[in-house]
Every structure is written in C-alpha cells, then in structure tokens.
Amino acid sequence: MDIVFKGEFMNYKVGIIGSGSWGTTVGHLIALNGYKVSMYSRNKKQIENINKEHINKKYLPEFKLSKNIEASNSLKEVTENSDIIFIAVPSHSFRDTVKKMSNYLRPDQIVISLTKGIEIKTYNVMSQIISQESCIKLIGVLSGPNLAKEIMKNQPAATVIASKFDFVIKTVSKVISSDRFMVFAQRDVTGVEVAGALKNVIAIASGIGEGLGLGINATSFLVTLGISEIKYLALKLGAKPETFYGLAGTGDLMATSFSVLSRNFRFGKMVGKSNGIEEALKSVNQVVEGYTTTEVAHLFAKSININMPILEAVYRILYKKGKVDEVLSELLKIRKDYLWE
C-alpha cells in the first residue's frame, strides 16, 4: 500500500458490463466524478428503470443513481465505445462474456475485473480469463472491503487496484477515487484475486458460526485460521504474503465475515440456523459466489495437495450433507496438547 492518486478529470469513457449491485455501485462512483458511464444489461426493464428513473430496482432500489449512467443492451456498443471497461458478471458466465466482447476489444483499452471467483475445471481467476480470451493486456483487478450499500450511502471506503501496469493503476485511480473513496495500488494481481475469491468461503464459515450462536471468540478463531489457510494456497500460486495483511486480504475478509450486508455471510448464517442450502440460497436472492467457490477451491486444493481444514469443513456442509454442528465441532475440537500458531 504505497501510492495514493487523487482524482482529476479526464475525458475517458467508461463501460460497465453487468448491472448487479457492485457493478452499478462502481458505475455510480465513476459517474459522480463526471465521467460518462454506459452500463450493459440484458434486462430491458432494468435498462428502462436506469435510463428513465435512474434507479436499479432489482439490486439497489433505495438509491438514486447519477444521471451520467446510461444503460444499454448492446454489448458491442458498450465495449467498443469505452476506454476503460469494468466487468461485473458472475464468475460462471465470465469467460463467455469476455469471449463475446473479444470481437470488439482493442489493445489500448483497459479492462478491470470486479468479479471475485475461481472458474470451475480450469481453476483460473478472472484476470487470467481476460488475457486468455481477448487481446487485452492492460488488465486490472479491483478488490477490497467494499460493501455496495455502504458506498451508495456515501459512507467512506477504500479499495485496492492491482495491475502489472502503472498506466492501468493511474488511469483507474483517476476515474474512481474521490473524497469518500480512497484507492491503493498493488502489483500482486494473483494475491488480490485469490484473497478476494476465497474470503467468500471464510465468510460462509463465519456466517455458519454466527447462525449456530458459537460466539465471537470462536468466529474470530475461524476467520483468523481462514486467512492463513488462503494465504498458504495463494503463495503456492505466486502471490505475495504482504497482500494478505492489506485491504484486499484482511480488510476484505473482515467486511465480509462480520457484516449482514455480505451475501456470503448471510447465506452462511441461514445455513448455520439449519435452514436447507436451497432455501438459504433463495433467501439471499443474489449470486452467492462463495457457494460455487467452495467446490472449486476444494477440488483445486486437492489437485495440488494442500490441506485447508476450514474450506473442507464448509465443503462438507454445503456439498456432502455434513451436519453443521458435527462438522464445526470437529473442526473446533479442543485438543489436549497445543499447536504452534
């Protein structure tokens, strides 16, 4: 965490692919800085809502959006006409979306992933998918403790932009940073992405703990173990350990693991209260990335022979019909001897 850039006006056009709550929030932040933002959505009604009433009724109904945001159902136009493009679609449709965009992308465009996840089968993170499926090299990842609703309420927050390219870092910071939204720069793209994806699993674990009424001591224990577990996996992939003490690591994990505003936490809590998994997913009513990530990460950890006890516990509960209290009490079983931290 070293460089902080102040926002200043330039004539960039910004595109947002996807109109979920985080994509909309990022678009709104940029639009407030005076940039024209075009937002791609497949839903005609949503487009009409955004363009006429300036409201995203499905995901952020209680907030008025900046009038600089214009929604469109043409992926071609949004992609072609933007200098900087943020992609905020669920990880399972990420590759397909980039593939479709690849016809319209040019090498001097910047593409930023807002999606946190690991792809099934390939174990790729989103930045890898962008580079595999398109001509884009100017790639970045935005991640941090950023609960959409707090930001929409104009509460202060900070985030991390990670990229191999200084040009990407400078440009993205210019368009998005403000008095209420501080941007930190990072080179460790892999670390930021792995932390961002896997913290969702830990948030589910934390939610389960809360749902079971284990208390804050036990939940903190779970979350702390969780971050060292994630770190261990990420180091194997070439990430830097420092990243995990920063905003995209511990910062994001704290916001996600202790707040009811976090979908993954809410989902975990429902599961902990012994509601069925189907029901829990339904009640959140948005994509719960951590649910898919749990299975992918379980398979990935297995394939590279890494032991991740918390991930395994969550996996057993979500996918192997493990009884919540049994699995967790086994995980938290008091041993007679001690362990080194």
């Binding site: 593939k99 016809n103 090498p107 001097d108 499926e133 001509c135 090299k137 200084d166």
Partner: protein, 523 residues
C-alpha cells in the same frame, strides 16, 4: 551485420545510449561511470595478464583519471568513449567478407563435422555434404517461420542445453532457406578451437560475461535492438546460459527479450516498412547431451547456482566431438529441433501472414498496445510488463514443445525408484555418493513405466508436452531397451544398466540430469 550497417551502428548506438542515460532521472551519468570503474577494477584483478589485459588496464586508468571532478560535458564524453570501446570489442572479430562466404560454406563444414567424416571421405564424395536429416530432425512450426520471416524480423528463442546448440541452429536455419542469424556468444566459446572457428565468421558477436557494468549491458542490448531494426534476424538464448540441471528453462532474462519490443517501437516511430518483430520459441532435444556430466557437476557443486564459465570443460576438443558424433550416429541417436508457434512482442500468437490473433481468431491491431490516449507513447514500465507477459508465453511454449525421448523417460522412472529406496533425507549426498548398492526390479520398473506412459500420452494429446515417436508408439519394454542402448554413451560410469531381472546405476548424477527434463510437470 554487413559492413555498412556496422558503421552506422557504431555512431547510432553511441548516441542512443548517451541519450537514454540523460533521459533517466534516477541514475546520473556519474553513477554510470562509477559503476564502470568499480566493475572493471574488480574484473581486471582476476584477469590473465595478456595483451588485452594491458590494453584494458591502460584504457580504464585513463577513464578513472578523467572521471575525477569531471563536469557534465566531460562525463558525456567519457561515457561515449567507453561505449565505443565496448562496442569495438563486441564486434571486433567480425569480418564481413568472410561472413558472406562462410554463410554458404559454413553449413557444409558443420554438416561434415556432425557426420564425423574424414577429409579423405569428403574428397571421394566430391564435396557433397552428407545428409544429416536422419539424425538431426526439424519439426513443429518451421513452415510458419519460413513464411513470417518474409513479413518481418524474426528472433529465435531456443532452450539451451549444449554448446552444440548454436551451430546446429545455424545449420538448420540455413537448410530452411533463411538468412543467417545475429547472436551473442560467450567469449570462452571464441577461445575454443572448434567453436571459435565458426563463431567469429558467423553472425556472432562477442559477449564477455565477466563484464558486469550497467553500461556494458546497455551496449549489448542496444546492439541487438539496432540489428533488429536493420532487419537482421536474431538468436537469443533467453535462459542466459546452458541449463545446468537439465530442467527446461522456466525463468527467462527479460533484458534481452525486451529488445524485440524496443525495436518494434523504434520501427513504428521511424515509420519503417515491415516493422514487425516475431519471436519463435524453439526447443532443442538431445537423446544424449555431450557435456551432461560437466553441467550436472556444476549444478550440484553450487547447489543450483551455476557458475557462468566452465573453463575446465574438455568436452569440446575437436577429436572428442568427432568421436561423440560418430558414436551417436551409429547408435542412431536423435537430435530434435522443435519449432513452436510464433508470438509477437506482447505474447500473442501470430498467424502465417504475420498477423497477431487472439484465441477467438480476431486479428489484433498490435501497434495500439503502445498507444495511450490515442497516440504512440513511450512508457518503460509498460514495456517491461509486456515483456514479462511475453516471457510467460515463451515458457509455456517450451513446456508444451519439450520433446521427451526414451532416455529422459527411463531416467525419470528409474531415478524416482532409486530415490524411494534411499532413506536419508540429504538429497545431494544421496546422488553424489550413494552409500548403498542400488537396484530395482524390472517388474517394478515396467509397472511405473506403464502408468507414466499413459499419463504422458494424455498430456501429449492435450499439447502439454511432446513425446518422441518411440514414446508414442513403443511399449515399455521397447522404450527401456532403446534407452539402455545409449547408457555407455551418457557417461563412463553407466547411469543405468540391466543385469538379469534388475536395473542398476553407477552414476546417479547423470541419471538425475536426464530425469530432470520431466521436472516441473507435476508427475
């Protein structure tokens, strides 16, 4: 480079290097000069006291004296002087006329060498070079290479196992009908009778690895950049030196690789016709590596940190090379040069028309990688990041085009089985001085062999690795007996041999070396 180009190069490179150093705000000119003085003093202390030594000593004494209290304009002059001095040495042995002739004659002489023909036989055969295609096989995307070399300038980036690599590549490039390549070769190779003869007369320029100053590296890079801009194809070994362990390169030197992008950027700035630069990865694969034993000794001695120069390497006496080649040919050992898909300086694939394409087949307007806010902008950090991406792609290409031959395959299994038997945890001690008599049951070997072969076939199909014909078609028994054929050629102490129903090793080091070509595939 041709005579007229070398003249232009001298002036151009001297002025470019000064300009670049003046632009650099982090390092002052005087720091560059102090860096030269520091490194040259250090180097000269260990140098043999010959004519070159005296010449160098006098020159750098002069630079040291003049550097004291030098003002900016003196500093500039001194920097130019040292640049010109380095440049002269780098190109010194180069004789353009001989170069022209030898590009025609040389391949024949290498061919003769490799076939270990006696001069008498050559005269009898009326000077026709014997075909060596039977043993040295060119495969992969070489047809694409032939096509794109007409559309732009090519940089061949091979893996590096042996000192025979560069003459072999030179020969094959000639056979493919391409122009000879410009390349840097270690000073020690020029001193060797066999290689020195070829090197000085080919497109090779001298690289003295003992010279460590910042300026020296700048001169080398600028020389390569300039030659690319003039349209000369280059040969870089991006691993920097021969692989000591036998493991295929996974970390590349980005300094030299980056000159491809520099040249492309300069070409665009100067509105050059055919500005494109293409990288063509190439894996070199030997059934038997001539200097394997020296290399692996060096690797183990330094626990992985290789010395750059092996002075006491006697593998390269002409007589030794000839007898080695002779044996190799009679045992029908293969050398495979496997050309990978060409890539642009940004790591994209290039089609046969020289267009960069993305995975979905879209043509990429690649000059725009150098645009910021709609115009061409020089950005050193950005270019370094592009070169990192390029390096990753080259490493990927190496991995999938690395050809595994019977010796590698058999060594891998046998070594793993020997390792399992050994109980001590000190690995290096184990392979240097095994204290127990090692042997494996043939049946165990075949069991493991069948499993690995199945895995490798699948990987070959998915283009994660390349298998030689023998591995693709043969059964475990055939592959083992093929590999054992070469055992005596690998080293004086056989790395692997068979007695009854067991396999034994008298030389684990060399077995380890050949086993290493399958390292890094998570097998």
């Amino acid at each position: 480079m041709k005579k007229e180009d070398i003249k232009i190069a001298e002036n151009e490179i001297v002025s470019r290097i000064l300009e670049n150093n003046l632009k650099n705000k982090k390092t002052k000119l005087i720091d560059i000069l102090y860096d030269i003085i520091y490194h040259e003093k250090k180097r000269l202390k260990t140098e043999t006291k010959d004519k070159t030594y005296q010449h160098d000593k006098d020159f750098f004494k002069y630079i040291i004296n003049k550097s004291k209290n030098a003002n900016k304009s003196t500093q500039k002059k001194l920097l130019q002087k040292v640049t010109a001095y380095y440049l002269k040495e780098i190109t010194s042995e180069f004789k353009p006329i001989i170069y022209e002739i030898s590009t025609r004659v040389l391949p024949v002489s290498i061919s003769v060498m490799l076939n270990a023909m006696s001069p008498k036989k050559i005269i009898k055969n009326k000077f026709t070079p014997p075909p060596i295609e039977h043993n040295v096989i060119t495969t992969g995307e070489y047809k694409k290479l032939q096509k794109i070399s007409k559309k732009g300038t090519v940089i061949i980036v091979p893996t590096h196992l042996s000192n025979l690599d560069s003459p072999l590549i030179g020969l094959m490039i000639y056979k493919l009908g391409l122009d000879p390549l410009v390349y840097g070769a270690g000073l020690n190779l020029f001193k060797n009778k066999f290689f020195g003869f070829f090197m000085s007369k080919l497109g090779a320029y001298k690289v003295d690895r003992r010279k460590k100053s910042i300026l020296y590296k700048q001169v080398l890079k600028e020389y390569a950049t300039f030659s690319l801009e003039r349209g000369y194809g280059n040969l870089f070994f991006p691993g920097g030196t021969r692989s000591r362990s036998g493991i295929i390169e996974n970390k590349l030197k980005k300094g030299l690789l980056g000159t491809g992008l520099d040249a492309y950027q300069n070409n665009l700035k100067n509105n050059k016709k055919d500005p494109d630069i293409f990288f063509v990865p190439l894996t070199l694969n030997y059934q038997v590596v001539l200097e394997a034993e020296t290399l692996i000794d060096d690797y183990l001695a330094d626990a992985g940190k290789s010395r750059y120069i092996i002075d006491d390497d006697d593998s390269f006496k002409i007589s030794k090379i000839i007898s080695f080649m002779d044996k190799m040919m009679s045992l029908d050992a293969k050398i495979i040069l496997n050309f990978g898909e060409p890539i642009d300086p940004f790591g994209n694939l290039v089609d046969e028309n020289g267009n960069s394409i993305d995975k979905n087949g879209n043509i990429i307007d690649k000059k725009r990688y150098l645009y910021e806010d709609g115009k061409l902008v020089e950005d050193a950090q950005r270019n370094r990041a592009y070169t990192e991406i390029l390096a990753e792609e080259i490493v990927k290409s190496y991995k999938s085009n690395n050809v595994i031959m019977s010796v590698n395959f058999v060594s891998f299994i046998a070594f793993k089985l020997f390792e399992k038997q050994h109980e001590s945890s000190d690995f290096y001690k184990f392979i240097k001085e095994p204290t127990i008599d090692l042997s494996i049951k043939l049946s165990n070997f075949y069991k493991e062999s069948d499993i690995l072969l199945k895995k490798l076939h699948k990987m070959h199909k998915n283009k994660k690795i390349t298998l030689s014909e023998k591995l693709l078609e043969g059964k475990s028994e055939e592959i083992l007996s093929d590999a054992l054929k070469f055992s005596n050629l690998l080293s004086n102490e056989a790395p692997l041999y068979r007695k009854g129903i067991r396999l034994y090793s008298d030389n684990l080091k060399v077995l380890f070396y050949y086993h290493n070509s399958l390292d890094g595939y998570s097998l």
